[in-house]
């Protein structure tokens, strides 16, 4: 096989996952990444759907969400290509077992799946405005079938499609845009709320 698999995440997908975590500062949050495989060595992540901010680790809501998400995005030619997670505590940099299990499940249907873990330290220093790299850690499944963090050797395999994404993100954080984000949990509590967040970036 040629070069390593790279991941490119679109601005909206990226910003959504950070805003989701910011809306629920006192709990863990998670969601799925949508996209497609391009050219054998590039996974394009074009959208994300926030799933949950409570009782991550229980199956029912997850199963219903995945069914609806696959149905909706399948019609657009997109598949579930990954999973994102943000831990409850600030200084928790581990990928927990629930996150790994969900990652495994997604990996079964999309072998090039990625898992993104929010990096709180990077998020905190975002306001210094110097870094263009995403405020997440990338995990992929290696030959031992476990999720390993990649890119810690300085060679990042994850890039954001739009170079000024972090500046836009910072702007949204300052204007408290995270208040408007809806996840699947919110939808199950009130089905009038739309987990596709169609008006979030308008």
């Amino acid at each position: 096989m040629g070069g390593e698999l790279r991941y490119e995440i679109g601005q909206n997908a990226y910003i959504k996952l950070v805003l989701h975590a910011l809306k629920h500062k006192t709990s863990a949050t998670n969601g799925v990444l949508l996209g497609r495989l391009v050219d054998e060595d590039l996974v394009q992540i074009s959208d994300s759907v926030p799933l949950s901010h409570s009782q991550i680790g229980l199956l029912p809501a997850l199963e219903i969400a995945l069914l609806q998400i696959e149905e909706h995005f399948g019609a657009q030619g997109l598949s579930i290509v990954g999973y994102y997670h943000a831990n409850e505590r600030y200084d928790d940099f581990d990928l927990g077992s629930a996150a790994r299990n969900i990652g495994d499940h997604i990996h079964r249907y999309f072998p090039q799946a990625a898992v993104l873990l929010l990096d709180n330290r990077k998020l905190e220093t975002l306001s210094e405005g110097k870094d263009r790299s995403p405020v997440v850690q990338l995990y992929t499944r290696d030959a031992t079938r476990s999720w390993k963090q990649t890119g810690s050797d300085g060679n990042s395999r994850l890039t954001i499609k739009e170079p000024s994404a972090n500046i836009v993100l910072l702007d949204y954080i300052l204007s408290e845009k995270w208040k408007g984000i809806v996840d699947f949990d919110d939808h199950l509590d009130d089905i009038g709320k739309d987990w596709l967040n169609p008006d979030l970036f308008k």
């Binding site: 006192t26 863990a28 409570s54 009782q55 991550i56 680790g57 229980l58 199956l59 029912p60 809501a61 199963e63 219903i64 069914l67 609806q68 149905e71 909706h72 409850e88 505590r89 200084d91 928790d92 927990g96 077992s97 629930a98 299990n101 199950l188 509590d189 009130d190 089905i191 009038g192 739309d194």
Partner: protein, 302 residues
């Protein structure tokens, strides 16, 4: 844990206060009563009352309750100096108070001085060994430092003495779920249902855990508890309705080749599916095709 009606009332009041329509004190009282965590709003509106001498004097004795509420909210928002000022005011008014001592312990926690906080709490516990709040602070500290197994141990010891503390059982259940220790989580929800059999949230959470555990017996039990949730909530709880469908599909999968289910049960998921479709038609029309496809993909037995 707040029902939909109370949450709507709270949000209405919050919007009113945010937009200058008054009612800050009512809002703060409601937050206290419902025990919700809205620290940024509490800090903002509580401070505006405390910093206005006229409004403060109108509160009379309740002024001190407000100082305590604002101190805790300030700590939650990492405004440690504001918290300190509130606690100092309380200390001057109630110099020997245990309640103020607790707040001082929490201030040490907010600063990350875990060892000092532990010392402060231990000495308070010497005089008041049965103080529930301090015992629970210790659990919170363990959790905050990432010592989850310590938090579990502490919480279990606490529940041996205070077995009627529902919040503690819920916290323990949620910790177990986050660690995927579903059997232990199930036990907690069983305790909660025994204590408070008419609270639908516990039936729903128990059903979710049983479904996650899997296996024919658990799925059948899970279906019963989704059904009781629907019963207790007047028939429209979306999660429970989906739960019935998920259970029926999973049971059908596992029972392939065995005896067919009774007719009653198959009516149940058909009813659940119909109710979901009706709800989506009324309140979420754009998602109705997705719902229909989802129910079809579940392969519900007919």
């Amino acid at each position: 844990m707040v029902g939909a009606v109370e949450e709507a009332q709270l949000n209405r009041l919050e919007n009113q206060v945010d937009n200058g329509g008054g009612g800050a004190w009512e809002y703060l009282c409601l937050v206290r009563k419902l025990k919700v965590r809205r620290s940024e709003k509490v800090l903002k509106h509580g401070l505006s009352i405390l910093n206005d001498p006229k409004q403060r004097s109108k509160l009379g004795g309740e002024e001190w309750t407000l100082y305590e509420q604002v101190a805790i909210a300030a700590m939650d928002c990492q405004c440690v100096d504001i918290a300190k000022d509130c606690i100092n005011a309380l200390q001057r008014k109630f110099p020997e108070s245990m309640r103020v001592g607790r707040l001082k312990g929490m201030l040490l926690e907010a600063r990350g001085s875990w060892k000092d906080a532990e010392v402060a709490y231990s000495s308070l516990l010497e005089d008041n060994p049965l103080d529930q709040v301090i015992q629970k602070r210790r659990v919170a500290m363990a959790k905050a430092q990432g010592n989850i197994s310590g938090a579990i141990e502490c919480l279990n010891k606490y529940l041996e003495i205070f077995m009627a503390d529902h919040e503690a059982w819920r916290e323990l259940a949620e910790i177990y779920v986050s660690l995927q220790m579903y059997k232990q989580a199930a036990f907690c929800y069983e305790e909660l249902i025994l204590c408070q059999p008419l609270v639908p949230l516990y039936h729903l959470a128990y059903a979710d855990v049983l479904y996650t555990l899997g296996g024919l017996e658990n799925l059948q039990m899970s279906k019963k508890y989704y059904a009781s949730t629907i019963d207790l909530t007047g028939g429209k709880n979306t999660r429970a309705l989906f739960g019935i469908c998920l259970c029926s599909a999973a049971i059908a999968q596992l029972s392939k080749g065995r005896n067919k289910e009774d007719k009653d049960s198959s009516e149940l998921h058909t009813l659940a599916a119909k109710t979901l479709e009706k709800e989506y038609k009324q309140r979420s029309l754009t998602k109705l095709p997705l719902l229909t496809a989802t129910l079809r993909n579940l392969k519900l037995p007919s």
